[in-house]
Symmetry: C2
Subunit: 207 residues, 2 copies
């Protein structure tokens, strides 16, 4: 055999570790969504994952680290949803994809609540999710900036459209509507309000 046994053994451990890690993130997502961050214990996540508490803490040194992993996984899944198999949509299609994501979020109040609360807490530099929240906004900003500049190059968005303002206010509307919707889920349609917002952008800056 060309591969020394100790490397194979380590490789097997890694694979199993990765599976446990993914399982723990999935379990934690379900429990956080059902019973909230505060109402979920590390012990409960460990038990449902089939790990000891110290086994779980090996992957995630704290409950906050587990939550960060849940939110990174949510960002990854949202990224896949937005890309729809063909890579991220650009031009106005990016805003349509975002509207579809807003509609999808309207069925996930617990996850939206977790996101809103953690994003706010994580503005403090010492917060364990501070790096995650920067990555989250940087990813969104880069994609939407590319979407607008591509739309300009292809002639569907005006050359003088204020790129930064469009990108930042679009992200702000998504976030701000979530805050209002969590307080009055029966009174607020995030999808309708977001679509009216993007229609206004299109009326003003579309070509």
């Amino acid at each position: 055999m060309s591969v020394p046994p100790r490397y194979r053994a380590r490789s097997r451990v890694d694979v199993s570790g990765e599976e446990s890690r993914a399982k723990a993130v999935q379990v934690a997502t379900e429990l956080f969504a059902l019973t909230g961050f505060k109402g979920t214990s590390v012990a409960a996540v460990a038990a449902r994952t089939g790990l000891s508490q110290s086994g779980l803490l090996h992957h995630f040194p704290s409950k906050a680290a587990l939550l960060t992993a849940v939110l990174e996984e949510r960002d990854r899944q949202d990224g896949d949803f937005l890309a729809g198999g063909d890579g991220p949509p650009l031009g106005w299609a990016a805003f349509d994809a975002l509207a579809a994501l807003v509609a999808r979020n309207s069925a996930r109040p617990h996850l939206v609540g977790l996101f809103v609360r953690l994003a706010a807490e994580a503005t403090e530099p010492a917060h364990p999710a501070h790096q995650w929240i920067h990555q989250h906004y940087n990813g969104l900003k880069q994609w939407l900036t590319e979407a607008v500049t591509t739309g300009q190059r292809e002639g569907e968005i005006a050359q003088d459209a204020p790129i930064t303002a469009i990108v930042r206010t679009t992200i702000a509307v998504v976030d701000g509507l979530q805050q209002q919707w969590l307080l009055e889920p029966d009174q607020v349609s995030m999808t309708a309000e977001f679509e009216t917002f993007t229609a206004t952008l299109r009326a003003r800056w579309g070509r």
Copy 2:
């Protein structure tokens, strides 16, 4: 004397109680802004107010209740600022007043941070600031709705302008920009982005 002594006595106690209460709110605002909510102790607020800890707890049963009072006072002061002595501005003038408030907030990062974090936490029904956050958004919604309908009546806003969407997305932009600004204070101009947003609203729905 026409006023029985026991009423005078009680009245004096009430006035002094109200002064202590107001002083405590002012002290707490300064301390929360300087050292954050977590970094501020009830004991420190009591000492600087000139009250015993139990004296302070008589007015505010918990640190969360003290924070709610700070935020209610901030809403009251913001309301005074927006009204500018002449009552709340209506029509597009309301959006100009809001832009001035956004500019003012750009010099108050600690208070904005407190607001953003507490508003997010308070979406949970059991949170001590849950009633405050409802009042905050209801007040804003009522004022902006009246601003838009007055603008329509006076012919400066189109009859078919989508009132609810304009009101909700305007509030969302203010909130969402705060979240981004707290993370990148040197990269984000809340005032510039908000003014571009309202200029877009005016271009689309102005008459």
